[in-house]
């Protein structure tokens, strides 16, 4: 199926009320998650994952994708209005966004950001549509050794590209791999490290792990530094129209942000965060108005916000084309697909075209829904920021507990939720990254499966793992990045001091 036929097929699929509702609900909830501090898109998707189990795989994935890019849209609102990012990818938006608010341009900036997010998201979908099927065709040629290199090498790359020191990424990654070995192993289904608990046979529940690490830990962080709540200024619909100069100055950052974001979405790591920081640095380097950036320039907001949406969309490529998630959110999506009995991988597009093209079409529709939700309805989202902390923090905590419990009705999962919440809180305090732990838990069984298949098919010949051209290329890249390519100095040069994942 060609891209045009595929898109029409996807549009026909999405025009079913269940899929349209899933896209709308995802966009709506995602925007709310992005706006409210205390619950990021990762924890938000994890909490809502059990609800998607009752939908079809296509509708479930559409909803999760909607939450992801919806949170990217919504995250900028708090950054611009109260100088507090709703999620990490909007940290950089605070710098110029809040300055522009102080100059009385809040409404116009919110409009520019919403349009930029729409542009970045929509053009990136075009890239996904054209690029993913080609990559999937190439992926069919992969053997177990190549997949082993992709999964294990990708995980190692993630630990370095996330930024920080070697230990801050590697330590959580190995803890994630360790957690992935609990329960039945993927080849012979033998129980490992269950210590007699039947509930552990199915492994550590991913929802409990992610909600603990990203939800409970985040709430603990908010509680430990709770200050008087900043009240946002009101934004009227008539204030939302940017001037002609603001539109003109945003066009080039939209283009640069889209290209940069798409590229970052394809590589392992917290793509949306890295893309927004890299875009900010790029604008500071090449923009005609670079001297104004940091003091309240539209380029400092339009570029990064476009980039993070383009990256969020492009991050779907490795998942949909190869079945390999390189970020916590796509790892959750993969896990949801597997619950539905769909095996992600290079054959996904051929065997389940309804999932691939349905999700692609939903991204076009979802981005349009988000534009409508975010521009005329901005005052409703602003009013969410007026909900007192003492109401929404306990509310989010209870939703997190119920969401986690609902997956397998297990009190053990609540213990995991609590313990990983504590672990996440402590690790974040000391600058450890949590994304490699989540991706490690999801990729662990895949790495083990490809390792054992490779050894089995080669009759125990270890050289199989470094003899194919694909494996050699990947391991070469990993070696370069792990040793010299991403030294701390180079990282700082690209993303600046503040470019941190968590």
């Amino acid at each position: 199926m060609g891209p045009i036929d595929g898109l029409f097929y996807g549009l026909k699929l999405i025009m079913v009320w269940q899929n349209l509702l899933a896209a709308f609900a995802g966009a709506l909830v995602g925007t709310a998650i992005g706006v409210l501090p205390g619950l990021g898109p990762i924890a938000g998707i994890a909490i809502l994952m059990p609800i998607t189990y009752s939908l079809s795989p296509t509708a479930g994935l559409i909803m999760m994708a909607g939450i992801f890019y919806g949170a990217m849209y919504g995250g900028s609102t708090t950054a611009i209005l109260v100088n507090m990012p709703g999620e990490t990818a909007s940290v950089v938006t605070c710098l110029d966004g809040y300055q522009l608010t102080k100059k009385g341009r809040a409404g116009a900036v919110l409009c520019l950001v919403a349009v930029g997010s729409f542009v970045g998201g929509t053009i990136a979908v075009l890239g996904v549509m054209l690029f993913a099927p080609q990559l999937a065709k190439f992926g069919i040629l992969f053997g177990p050794a190549d997949f082993f290199a992709m999964t294990a090498g990708g995980l190692l790359l993630l630990t370095r590209i996330s930024g920080g020191s070697l230990a801050s990424g590697l330590f959580p990654m190995t803890i994630g791999l360790l957690l992935s070995t609990i329960g039945q192993e993927p080849v012979t289904a033998q129980n490992r490290f269950t210590f007699g608990y039947n509930d552990l046979s199915a492994g550590v529940e991913l929802v409990a792990l992610v909600v603990g690490l990203y939800g409970i830990a985040e709430i603990m962080s908010v509680v430990d530094s709770m200050r008087s709540q900043v009240k946002p200024i009101g934004v009227r619909a008539r204030d939302m129209l940017p001037t002609r100069t603001e539109w003109r100055r945003s066009l080039a950052p939209y283009g640069r942000g889209t290209a940069l974001g798409f590229f970052f979405g394809l590589i392992p790591g917290p793509c949306a965060v890295l893309a927004s920081f890299a875009s900010y640095r790029l604008e500071k380097a090449v923009s005609k108005y670079r001297a104004e950036i940091g003091e309240g320039a539209v380029e400092g907001v339009a570029g990064p916000e476009t980039a993070n949406n383009a990256a969020a969309t492009a991050a779907m490529v490795p998942l949909l084309a190869l079945g390999i998630p390189f970020a916590p959110i796509t790892a959750l999506m993969m896990s949801a697909l597997m619950v539905h009995g769909v095996q992600p991988g290079p054959l996904l597009i051929a065997q389940h075209p309804e999932i691939f093209w349905g999700v692609i079409a939903s991204m076009y529709i979802g981005n349009m829904m988000l534009l409508i939700l975010n521009v005329p309805m901005i005052s409703i989202w602003v009013s969410l920021l007026r909900i007192p902390h003492y109401i929404f923090l306990p509310l989010i905590l209870l939703v997190a507990v119920i969401g986690t419990y609902s997956v397998r009705n297990s009190m053990l999962d609540l213990s995991v939720l609590f313990l990983l919440g504590l672990a996440g809180y402590v690790l974040r305090k000391f600058d450890f990254h949590l994304a490699p732990m989540v991706v490690g838990v999801v990729l662990g069984p895949l790495i083990e499966k490809h390792l054992r298949e490779g050894l089995f098919l080669s009759r125990g010949d270890i050289s199989v793992f470094y003899s194919s051209p694909i494996a050699i290329t990947i391991w070469g890249l990993v070696l370069i990045v792990m040793t010299v390519g991403f030294s701390r100095n180079l990282y700082k040069k690209i993303f600046g001091e503040v470019g941190r994942e968590d």
């Binding site: 070995t181 603990m220 430990d224 905590l397 119920i402 919440g421 000391f430 054992r452």
Partner: protein, 156 residues
């Protein structure tokens, strides 16, 4: 705010990781190893255990190299009291949940947590808590049919 040396934290985390890796590898050796052409359940955990040793040593090394002046701010005073109260309330909630059921334990948890987070009067807190708890019960238990614990003490 109170502070702790980054160096000490890294040394502690690296040490704990090393200990965990030794115990984990010890347990892994009890699993079948298989042959190289038919690897058993022990192979991958042993590789992970070795990786954990390497990661823990890297953490210890980085901790050793941290300057003593690098400090991390930890909550103190009222902030610390709030976090510790939240942790205590979560533990209490998870213990109470199977015994008292979702509605009672959630309402009690909400009442106490809101008291910790705000200076509102008790009657207002009780009203808000009951409203949230009943709303969540209606959405998740009645509408979405999530089978939350009903309480061992309350069911015959």
């Amino acid at each position: 705010m109170t502070s702790v040396q980054m160096r000490k934290a890294y040394l502690l985390i690296g040490g704990a990781g090393l200990l965990l890796a030794i115990v984990y590898i010890g347990l892994s050796f009890k699993l079948p190893f298989g042959e190289l052409d038919q690897p058993g359940a022990a192979v991958f955990p042993i590789i992970v255990g070795v990786l954990l040793i390497f990661a823990s040593l890297a953490t210890l090394w980085e901790g050793w190299r941290f300057d003593k002046s690098v400090l991390v701010q930890l909550p103190a005073g009222e902030d610390r009291k709030r976090v510790l109260s939240l942790i205590g309330l979560l533990v209490g909630y998870f213990i109470a949940l199977p015994w008292l059921g979702q509605i009672i334990s959630s309402t009690l948890f909400l009442i106490l947590l809101m008291r910790v987070l705000s200076g509102l009067s008790w009657p207002r807190i009780v009203c808000y808590s009951l409203a949230i708890s009943l709303m969540l019960y209606a959405v998740f238990v009645l509408l979405l049919k999530v089978p939350m614990p009903r309480g061992m003490l309350l069911t015959p």
